[in-house]
């Protein structure tokens, strides 16, 4: 177990190096100049050269990359271009809890709505219940998330106008606080994020459950005289949930970096919004840092999934 964890953490280092290298190269060769973007239309060539030097942008790319890695090894993400010298971590640290909060609540909805809907559909496979469930889930899953967001916002505005309520359509409240105002801010984006993902979870659960219900050991469980309730919840469900662990692990990994589109449309100050604006501003240190966060998140999410596997499936040993 310890050996497995050490191996995985060493692997993580290489994943981070790979991810940062690719984002670095792409940023370096992409058109556009961060200093120009920063200075605007009118600036003196002297100031331009001075700033380029200050940020190390006059060095060859491999030296820049090397400097980045050295700083990263000291958990130093460098300084933002855009905000003129503010440390990158300073910008990100407020976004992380917001994004995680949004994504974790969404994950709760995936599991609480997606999984039961999937199970019901599988047990009622090819009846009207299944068709209705899967129809709704297909619409939720197939609809582009930005369309879904805007639809919900329009709906909220409409209800506000009709009832005189003052339900907000943007912003987030205090992270991890749940006063009535906080809930009003958080409910709509969490529901949108949650339902879209729940649709995906429902489809996976249904497929997995149908697969398991065909297995010989389900017939054995019935032949033992177990009532159908136990056949399903004891013998089938535990096996059917195994594939869901992978999906949950990966989803968990993405929670740190948040949901780019949902955060932007609802104007939520999470990592997603920060990433998008840093890309538009060519704020490379911030882009790099979010890429590193994403990589770490995905690797840790998968690690958790692997550990969870061993708890559920005795055939799997960590090695």
């Amino acid at each position: 177990m310890i050996q497995f964890l050490i191996k995985r953490l060493i692997g993580l280092v290489f994943v981070v190096i790979g991810v940062t290298f690719i984002t670095f190269i792409m940023g370096y060769f992409a058109p556009g100049d961060p200093i120009r973007t920063m200075l605007g239309e009118h600036f003196s060539p002297q100031l331009y050269a001075q700033l380029r030097h200050a940020y190390g942008l006059d060095l060859p790319w491999y030296e820049q990359y090397w400097n980045f890695l050295v700083h990263l090894a000291h958990f130093d993400f460098g300084y933002s271009f855009k905000t003129q010298g503010r440390p990158v971590w300073d910008i990100l640290k407020d976004g992380v809890p917001v994004s995680m909060e949004l994504a974790l609540w969404a994950l709760v909805i995936y599991l609480l709505i997606g999984v039961p809907v999937g199970i019901i559909s599988a047990l009622k496979a090819n009846t009207w219940v299944d068709t209705l469930n899967m129809g709704i889930m297909l619409v939720l899953y197939a609809m582009p998330i930005f369309v879904f967001c805007v639809l919900v916002q329009v709906l909220i505005v409409f209800i506000d106008q009709e009832t005189g309520a003052n339900w907000p359509v943007a912003n987030w409240g205090e992270p991890w606080h749940y006063t009535w105002t906080d809930i009003q801010f958080k409910l709509a984006p969490v529901l949108v994020f949650g339902l879209a993902g729940a649709a995906y979870f429902a489809r996976i659960t249904r497929t997995s459950m149908l697969e398991v219900m065909r297995q010989d050991y389900i017939r054995t469980a019935r032949a033992k005289g177990l009532p159908e309730r136990l056949v399903i919840y004891r013998h089938a469900l535990r096996n059917a949930l195994i594939p869901l662990i992978t999906v949950t692990g990966v989803t968990l990994g993405f929670t740190i970096t948040g949901a780019f589109l949902i955060e932007n449309i609802f104007n939520i100050p999470g990592i997603g919004t920060i990433t998008v604006s840093s890309v538009l501003d060519r704020d490379y240190p911030v882009i790099q840092a979010t890429a590193v966060l994403l990589a770490i998140g995905v690797v840790l999410g998968n690690l958790l999934a692997d550990i969870a596997y061993t708890l559920v499936d005795p055939r799997i040993k960590l090695e």
Partner: protein
């Protein structure tokens, strides 16, 4: 107490598929006495497994459906029981062992748990500890070495033969009156086959359990059963005590089956005689004897009329043939 443990009368189990109605079991009747060992023989698709699944009422539905007949178990018609009554019966009075031991056990539960679960289901008021004790005892009975420790193992830690022993332990844990074994040794290698059959036969005798052994292998039946039913295309074509099946087979199909088994006492170089042709498509209406197209002794009458299962004048032996030998 009725004389027969099991009485199947005119059982019809059909499958309603897109390409038509498949008459997997069509008008099958037979009886079993308490403690009797009955062999059901036939090739793939002859309806032997579906007959077994009908008795325990586990035919996949849809598409399968028992459309006619009755199955009397201890004089009560199983087909009239509701789901709760059926689950009471399954695993306690009637149990089943399936063909593929590799997939028949749930991979995420220990062996001991899977045995104890059955015991707990059917013995009212038994504690978890007692159920576990019974599981260990059963593992011991099916000769799993070091049963106490092995009860805590998972199915993937067992070989195929061991898993089939576990299946037998599950099936017999509640002293059933009838054990149905559907090709229990087909998926095992030959040396293990004999051990498993021996074990099953011995335990059935010890527990006073009637054994219905389904197989396509007449050799398996010879050493294990007292009476044999031969099935073909959803019908019983011959029914006889095991000795008569081998010494004086009456139906041409039975004769064909026996001739296609290699024998030790034959001269070397003698060729086996296979049965030519294929079994009929059961989704089509069959007129006359279903074996007629492959029968070496076919007469015009065989193609027009279906022969009934009738005594051939040698005690208990019955055959569905106009011209039995």
């Amino acid at each position: 107490m009725p004389e027969n443990l099991l009485e199947v009368n005119n059982l019809k189990t059909y499958f309603f598929t897109r390409s038509g109605v498949v008459k997997a079991v069509d008008d099958v009747s037979f009886t079993m006495r308490p403690g009797e060992a009955l062999g059901v023989v036939g090739e793939s698709g002859s309806g032997k497994s579906v007959t077994a699944l009908s008795i325990i009422r586990l035919v996949a539905s849809p598409p399968g459906k028992i459309v006619g007949g009755e199955i009397l178990f201890n004089g009560e018609n199983i087909l009239e029981k509701n789901n709760d009554e059926m689950t009471e019966l399954r695993g306690s009075k009637i149990s089943m062992v399936f063909q593929d031991p590799m997939t028949s056990l749930n991979p995420v539960f220990t062996i001991g748990y899977q045995i104890a679960e059955t015991v707990k289901r059917h013995r009212k008021g038994i504690s978890n500890d007692q159920a576990w004790q019974r599981a260990v005892e059963m593992l011991d009975l099916v000769r799993i070495p070091d049963a106490r420790r092995r009860a805590k193992s998972y199915p993937h830690e067992f070989s195929g033969g061991m898993r089939q022993r576990v299946m037998i332990a599950i099936a017999l844990a509640c002293n059933p009156q009838l054990l149905i074994a559907d090709e229990p040794t087909t998926a095992l290698d030959v040396t293990i086959q004999a051990q498993i059959l021996e074990l099953m036969k011995g335990l059935a005798k010890e527990f006073g359990t009637a054994l219905m052994l389904i197989t396509h292998d007449l050799g398996v039946v010879a050493g294990t059963c007292e009476h044999v039913i031969v099935m073909y295309a959803g019908h019983i074509v011959e029914s006889a005590p095991v000795r008569q099946i081998f010494q004086t087979p009456a139906h041409p199909y039975t004769i064909g089956l026996l001739q296609s088994i290699p024998r030790l006492d034959e001269k070397r170089g003698t060729r086996l005689t296979p049965i030519p042709g294929q079994p009929p498509d059961l989704s089509r209406e069959i007129i006359g004897c279903p074996y007629a197209p492959r029968c070496p002794r076919v007469q015009p009458r065989c193609r027009q009329e279906r022969p009934e299962l009738k005594p051939v004048g040698r005690g208990e032996q019955l055959a569905a043939c106009f011209y039995p030998s």
